[in-house]
Structures are given as structure tokens and as C-alpha cells.
């Protein structure tokens, strides 16, 4: 292995990234960093290089800081992570976001060739989950995780894995209900054919009654099993004293079943059991369609999913792994490089770097000295350091947010949904109609009065009405998903249609970190060469980005320089003697000045500060157009946790913003949103970091904006890929279209109902008419709504 000096266009054999100045050559292959090279080395050692032949460059770029998984040794934690544990076999399922191709599956299912302790591993590419059975006598859980990390598949471990499993069960139950309803529907229809064709089965009465009783038998699972959800929901609604959409559905089902059984038992007619089964079949399909969501994206994370499960506590000098929730004020904990600080703490050691990017989206290392308070959520950078816990985790600055009452309230009151507000009137009107028709027939022909009453309920049963919303919103969720806005559920669209104010977070939402450094200060070509010669030896991202910058600006030839005494201190910087001068590149303390915390990475030559490097924070592209488009329909506001040094720049750049607020704490943001709501605004918040979590929760619609959908999104109603932020106006318009489409669907189904009601009220509803009318209306509504949504999306230039 050796470091290569040239900089031609070379792609990393492992991850396909561009190889930069200090790439690595190994086994006649090029790697962009030591991380990628070491993965290759491990695979080569285990004879698993087929990994690279299945797909080209299947790996993902390796980050230089690996987290520690020692806490998995703690039996309390491992028992929560494991699915099954015995002396010789343990089973575990990991969620690994980086699973993305066939090579991943192949490698993860061949883990046993790397370590004999693995007995069986199965990957699921759709859910990005790998299930591993292993022998705990050969391989411990933390070693297994370490093994996955070493080949580039770092699992995300959290304790709420239980959730995902119950979701599965609900999905399956719905599919089974659809299967049963479909089976019964088909068979009941077959047995009803003599009816449809008007054949007189009374010639052989026995055959006719056999047919009828078999349909009765087939209808029982439909009534008892398939429709249970509707009855439950209707009863729940009635208990809370409101009429939801399931009340008229339940009424219709009961009327259909009751009338059919009555007719069959007293041998009056053949009933409407085919309509009943068909109705449920279609309703359940609608429900399934609406419920297909992005179950691998997490929409309801609280602080527990972010913080480490356990930390090392120092107990009389001994390190001991304790659960984060058990930390008490006064405990001394040991935090290693790039671990998250779980509670508000005081630093006990001399110096440490803390990066709050996790909290505020701004990647900036801040130096902290002994005795200073460090808030929860910061990432510790540098050598391991001791911290003393000030407050238990649940009471710390950040997690207090989660105890705010807005997190405890149920965010979406189903009563507010348009469909439920309409169904209230619908039910009342239908009941009135049914009663008055029955009353009318009481005078003309009392014997038919009950029949007319049930007929009205059957026909008016809002099958079409109940299909309109799920299919409109379900199709819309899919359209949004294709355009990289992933919504938690279909109800969010209904909320989005109402929004009047948009609130943006600045850092991380409107700005993006490009990974590019900016140099302030002037460098001579000589100095640039010397610095490059030094930086080549470091694999730290900052060093690599400094190199990139130097390469852009200077004609480098670093290999003429002689480097000696190279030193790299994690979290501090690098230093060395180049051509006789001592060059230091690192934070303020490292280079030996009292510079402010946000000075970035400083460069000193022979003790003299020569300039500094900073990551540039750029506004995302197209923001001006975005605000111009949005200002036509919405009030806009911007919140930022930063100081207001960018105020004038922002005001000049985006004059359309109505309100700009700076130095906003997570609580201020939450309050800001709730004040807007008190003024009667419907607020949509777009944010990214943990510090927006409160505002996202408080707002009517909270959207998390992120560059990587599988990572770090606070609890929200939707996740928006940052690259499509510019499409936001189109998304809002499409959401508003949903109302128009749903209302026109309602009108259509109302027209169908009018036709049916005409039959019903006049007492002429034959089973054949019911059997034709009900599915036709439902299916035509389904076609109408899906087509309308697709047309609207095409009009708005969405995929």
C-alpha cells in the first residue's frame, strides 16, 4: 500500500467516488480513502471479491469516524436489541440504511465466510434490514456490529424496533381481509347468476334454497371478519359523539345484511349479499391503497432514537456501561471521539471540540474549555474526555422540548378532516330521507315501508363517497413520493391544502453545506505547496477538503517538499516540519491563539497565523424563484438559530419574506409557530435539525428537509428531499387540487346515489339493479379520481 502522488481522473474501486490528491493504491486498484481500501482488504481476505463483480463500485463512501458499539455489551441493552437469545444461538435484525444493490445482499448473506460465528444472515433490500443468526460463544453482538461497520454497513440501532414489527402485522391483516372478501365476493356472485339471468329456480326449489344458504354461509366471514374495522371505528366515533365517515358505511352494511338475511330466511327474495361482499372488497382495497406508506422512513422519532443507548460511566475509576436514561446529575461520563453527548454536562477535562450540527444543522466545531457547559445533542470531537452530568437526560435543554405539551397531544384530530365533516351532514340527510320515504310508504303500502327504508340506506351507503378520499389522497401520496416528498399518511395532504403560512428554518434547510472550504488570508504558492505536503498525510475530511481547495487555486507540486515530525491529534489538528518551517493546521487552541470559536481551521507557519479555512454555507439554488412563487399564496417567515450577521444579506436576497427572526432557541421556534396559530394561521414548518423538532410538532404540517432521507430527521409529517425544495409551490398547488378532486368525486357519487335513490324510494330496487349500480359507481369513481390526480400532477410538471 502506498500513497499516490498523481491526480488524474481516477474513480475509487470501492465506492466510485472521484479519487483526490491523496488516494490509496492497493492490489493494483485505486481507492479514494483508507476506509474504502480497508473494506476491500477484508473482502479480499475472506475471498469475497465477487462483491465487486455483481455491480460496479457497489460500496458507499466510508466516513473516517466510526462510532463505538461497546455499549452493546450491556446485557440490558442487548436483550432489547436481540430477537432471540440462548446459549448457543442469538438472532438479531439490523436496519442498515446503506443496503442498496444486489452486491449488498450478496455480501451480507455471505457474512459467515468472514466470521464463522455467523450462522445465517438474510438481507431484505426493500426494508433495508438484515437478519443475522449467530453463535454468541464465537461472536458477541458488539463484535458483529463492528464487523458490519468494518465492511461499510453500519446498522442504525434503536430500541423502538418493536414498532416496525407491529406495522407488518396490521398490513398483513388488511391483505388477508381483502383476500377473504374477494373470495366471498366472487363465489357469491357465481351463485347469484341464476338471479341475474332471471332463471326460475323454483322449478326445483331445493336447488334455489341451497344456492341461497351457501351465499349466506359465504357472507358470514365478510360481515364478521372483513367489516369489523368499520364497525369498530363507527362505534368509536359515536362514543366520542361525532359522525365519522364509517358511521354511514356501517349503517349501509347493516342494512344490506339485515335485509338480505330477512329475505332469505322468509323466502321472499334472494337478498343483496353479492353487493355486500363487493362493497367490502372495494372498500378494503381503497383502505389498503391509502395505507401504503413509506414504512422504512421514520416519521415519529423522539430524542431516544438520536441519543446513544448507553454511555460509559466512570465509577471509582472503572468504566461501566449504563443506559442513558439511568444517568443521574453528578455522574461522570466518558465520551469518545464523535460520540453524542446525551445530557447537559460540564466538561471536566482541559479542552474538547463540540459540533452541534446534529442540533442546528450547522457543521462547525466549537472549542470548549474545562468547566464550560455543553448541551445535550452536541457531538464530542477529539480525544476522549470526561463530562459531569448536570441534569438527567429527560430534563436537559433539548429533551425538555419533548416534554412540551404539543408532543403529547394527538396531532391530527380526525374530526378536522374534510371527509368527516362532510359525512356528518351526509348521514343526517340519508337518515332523514330514509325515514321520510318510509313514512310516505306507510300511507300507501305499509307492508313495503321497511323495504323502502332499508333500500334507501343500501343505495345511499356512501361506497363511492368512501372511495373518493382514499383513492384521491392515496394516488397523491404516490405522486409526492415519486417527486421525493414522502408523507407520513394521506391525511397530511388534507392539512396541506389549508396552509396559509410557511415558516422556514435557515440553517440546513435553506442553506447547504457543500463540503467546500473557503480560504481567508493570503497564501503564497510556496506556502500552499508546503501546506499541501503536510495535509496529504492526513485522512481527516478537513485535510482532504483543504487539499481540494489548494488544488483548485494553486498549481501544486507538494512532493518537492520534505516533511518531518508529522503529528495528527484527533479533534485538534495536524502539524509538522516542512522544509524547515513548523506548519500547524487546526483549531484555535491547537495553533496557539485565543481566536474565537468560529474561526474555523487556522493555519500557522512558524507560530504566525497565516489564514483560516472555513466550510462555506451556501444558500440552496433557486430560493429566489421559490419565494416568488410561494408569496402569491402564502405568508412567509424565516427562523434562524444563528446570530443576525446575515440579516441584511437575507433581506436583500429575499425581500419577499415577511418576517425574519434570529437567535431562535428550539422553544422560541415552537412559540413562534404557536403564536401564528393563535392568529388563526395554518402553519407549515420546514426544518431539519433537532432544534426544529418542537416547531415541526407544533405546526399544522411539519416537513423535515434533508439531503439523505434515511438519516437524522426529527419527528415530522413528511420528509422532503432537499433537492426538490424548489418544487414546493407545485406540491402546495397539488395538495390544494385534492380538495377540488374530492369534491367533484362527491358530486359524481351523489349523482349515482340520486339514480339509486329514485329506484329505492319508489320501491323498485331489485337485487340486480343494486348489484350493477354499486360496483359501477365505485369503480368509475376510482378511475375518475386517480386520473384527475395524475392529470393535475402533469399540469404542475410533476412526475
Amino acid at each position: 500500500m502506498k500513497l499516490i502522488e498523481t491526480d488524474e481522473d481516477v474513480k475509487c474501486f470501492h465506492c466510485g467516488d472521484q479519487c483526490h490528491l491523496n488516494y490509496v493504491q492497493f492490489d493494483k486498484k485505486h481507492f479514494c480513502c483508507l476506509g474504502c481500501q480497508s473494506v476491500y482488504q477484508i473482502l479480499l481476505g475472506s475471498d469475497l471479491v465477487d462483491y465487486y463483480s455483481l455491480e460496479s463500485t457497489p460500496g458507499l463512501p466510508q466516513s473516517s469516524d466510526k462510532l463505538k458499539f461497546n455499549y452493546l455489551e450491556n446485557p440490558e441493552i442487548s436483550s432489547q436489541v436481540l430477537d432471540f437469545a440462548s446459549e448457543s444461538l442469538e438472532k438479531v435484525r439490523f436496519f442498515i440504511p446503506s443496503i442498496h444493490c444486489s452486491s449488498c445482499i450478496w455480501l451480507l448473506e455471505n457474512l459467515h465466510r468472514i466470521n464463522q460465528g455467523v450462522l445465517l444472515s438474510r438481507a431484505n433490500i426493500g426494508e433495508k434490514v438484515v437478519a443475522v443468526d449467530y453463535d454468541p460463544r464465537i461472536l458477541t453482538l458488539s463484535d458483529l456490529v463492528q464487523l458490519l461497520v468494518s465492511i461499510g454497513y453500519e446498522p442504525v440501532i434503536s430500541l423502538d424496533q418493536q414498532e416496525a414489527k407491529t406495522d407488518h402485522a396490521a398490513d398483513r391483516a388488511l391483505i388477508l381481509k381483502i383476500a377473504v372478501a374477494g373470495f366471498c365476493f366472487g363465489n357469491i356472485m357465481l351463485l347469484s347468476f341464476p338471479d341475474y339471468l332471471g332463471l326460475d329456480l323454483r322449478i326445483d326449489g331445493q336447488l334455489a334454497s341451497w344456492f341461497k344458504w351457501i351465499t349466506v354461509a359465504l357472507s358470514i366471514p365478510v360481515l364478521a371478519y372483513c367489516s369489523s374495522d368499520y364497525f369498530k371505528s363507527a362505534v368509536n366515533g359515536l362514543r366520542q359523539r361525532y359522525l365519522n365517515i364509517d358511521v354511514p358505511i356501517a349503517l349501509g352494511i347493516l342494512a344490506l345484511a339485515g335485509r338480505s338475511y330477512y329475505e332469505i330466511v322468509f323466502d321472499i327474495g334472494t337478498g343483496y349479499l353479492d353487493s355486500l361482499a363487493g362493497l367490502l372488497f372495494l372498500l378494503l382495497i381503497g383502505r389498503w391503497f391509502q395505507h401504503r406508506t413509506y414504512n422504512r422512513l421514520s416519521f415519529s422519532r423522539d430524542f431516544k432514537s438520536y441519543f446513544p443507548l448507553a454511555v460509559s460511566k466512570l465509577d471509582e475509576g472503572r468504566e461501566q456501561s449504563v443506559l442513558v436514561g439511568q444517568l443521574q446529575a453528578g455522574d461522570v461520563i466518558m465520551i469518545r471521539n464523535s460520540e453524542l453527548i446525551p445530557a447537559d454536562c460540564v466538561l471536566l477535562d482541559e479542552i474538547a471540540g463540540v459540533d452541534y450540527s446534529f442540533v442546528n444543522g450547522e457543521s462547525r466545531e466549537i472549542a470548549r474549555r474545562r468547566g464550560s457547559i455543553v448541551f445535550a445533542g452536541g457531538r464530542h470531537i477529539g480525544l476522549s474526555a470526561r463530562y459531569q452530568v448536570q441534569k438527567p437526560v429527560s430534563q436537559s435543554y433539548l429533551t425538555q422540548l419533548w416534554n412540551h405539551h404539543s408532543f403529547r397531544e394527538q396531532k391530527h384530530d380526525p374530526r378536522e378532516l374534510m371527509i368527516n365533516s362532510i359525512s356528518k351532514y351526509f348521514t343526517v340527510v340519508v337518515l332523514l330521507l330514509a325515514f321520510s320515504a318510509a313514512f310516505y310508504w306507510l300511507f300507501i303500502d305499509p307492508s313495503r315501508s321497511v323495504f323502502v327504508f332499508t333500500s334507501v340506506l343500501i343505495v345511499a351507503c356512501p361506497c363511492a363517497l368512501a372511495m373518493t378520499t382514499p383513492f384521491t389522497l392515496g394516488t397523491m401520496v404516490n405522486v409526492f413520493g415519486r417527486n421525493k416528498l414522502y408523507l407520513k399518511n394521506a391525511q397530511v395532504i388534507d392539512k396541506m391544502a389549508n396552509i396559509s403560512t410557511l415558516v422556514f428554518d435557515k440553517t440546513g434547510t435553506l442553506t447547504e453545506l457543500k463540503g467546500k472550504m473557503v480560504l481567508s488570508g493570503s497564501l503564497t504558492a510556496d506556502m500552499a505547496n508546503m501546506l499541501a505536503a503536510l495535509a496529504v498525510h492526513s485522512n481527516h475530511p478537513v485535510s482532504r477538503n483543504v487539499l481540494l481547495l489548494l488544488k483548485d487555486q494553486f498549481n501544486l507540486d507538494p512532493y518537492t517538499c520534505v516533511v518531518s515530525d508529522f503529528k495528527e491529534i484527533p479533534g485538534m489538528g495536524i502539524s509538522g516540519k516542512v522544509n524547515g518551517s513548523i506548519i500547524k493546521l487546526g483549531n484555535a487552541t491547537f495553533v496557539g491563539t485565543n481566536g474565537s470559536d468560529d474561526a474555523g481551521t487556522l493555519l500557522s507557519v512558524d507560530g504566525k497565523i497565516n489564514g483560516n479555512f472555513k466550510y462555506s454555507m451556501d444558500f440552496r439554488e433557486g430560493l429566489g424563484a421559490l419565494f416568488r412563487n410561494l408569496t402569491k399564496g402564502f405568508r412567509l417567515a424565516l427562523l434562524s438559530g444563528d446570530s443576525d450577521y446575515q440579516r441584511t444579506e437575507l433581506e436583500n436576497k429575499f425581500p419577499l419574506l415577511e418576517q425574519l427572526s434570529f437567535r431562535q432557541s428550539p422553544f422560541d421556534k415552537l412559540e413562534f409557530v404557536s403564536n401564528l396559530q393563535k392568529q388563526g394561521e395554518k402553519v407549515m414548518m420546514l426544518g431539519d435539525g433537532l432544534n426544529d423538532a418542537g416547531a415541526l410538532q407544533q405546526s399544522d404540517v411539519g416537513i423535515a428537509v434533508t439531503d439523505q432521507t434515511q438519516h437524522f430527521t426529527p419527528a415530522s409529517d413528511g420528509i422532503l428531499h432537499a433537492s426538490v425544495l424548489g418544487q414546493l409551490p407545485a406540491f402546495m398547488k397539488l395538495a390544494r387540487c385534492s380538495r377540488v378532486i374530492i369534491v367533484s368525486g362527491f358530486v359524481c357519487s351523489f349523482l349515482y346515489n340520486l339514480v339509486g335513490l329514485a329506484f329505492a324510494v319508489s320501491g323498485n330496487l331489485s337485487p340486480l339493479i343494486a348489484a350493477v349500480l354499486m360496483p359501477t359507481s365505485s369503480i368509475s369513481i376510482v378511475i375518475f379520481t386517480t386520473m384527475a390526480v395524475k392529470l393535475a400532477a402533469v399540469n404542475l410538471k410533476l412526475n
Partner: protein
């Protein structure tokens, strides 16, 4: 007539049989992941060990 009723019962029984098969398959999770097996079947069955390192040419 008895014949027709018998036939209907047989056809229903067949249908129920397939329904039960479907329920069983869904319950044991056979529809949970439809993507991975489709990719997995394309892997070459090389056993571990250096001898089989090179797959036979096509």
C-alpha cells in the same frame, strides 16, 4: 341436482383450499419481501474456498 350441489361444494372447497394456502403464505411472511429473492436467485452458487474462485466461463 345432487350432482350440481356436489360440484358446487367441490368448487367451493377448491377455492377455500387456495384461500387457506394464501392465508398461510401471507402469515408466514412470504409476501413481506418480494424484491430480495428476485435478486438472490441470480447469484452464482459458488461455495466458499479458493478452488471455486473462478466461475466457469459462459
Amino acid at each position: 341436482m345432487l350432482l350440481i350441489i356436489g360440484l358446487i361444494l367441490i368448487s367451493l372447497g377448491l377455492g377455500v383450499g387456495f384461500l387457506v394456502a394464501f392465508v398461510w403464505a401471507a402469515r408466514t411472511g412470504q409476501f413481506d419481501d418480494t424484491d430480495t429473492p428476485a435478486r438472490r436467485m441470480l447469484f452464482d452458487q459458488t461455495t466458499s474456498g479458493k478452488k471455486n474462485k473462478k466461475p466457469n466461463g459462459f
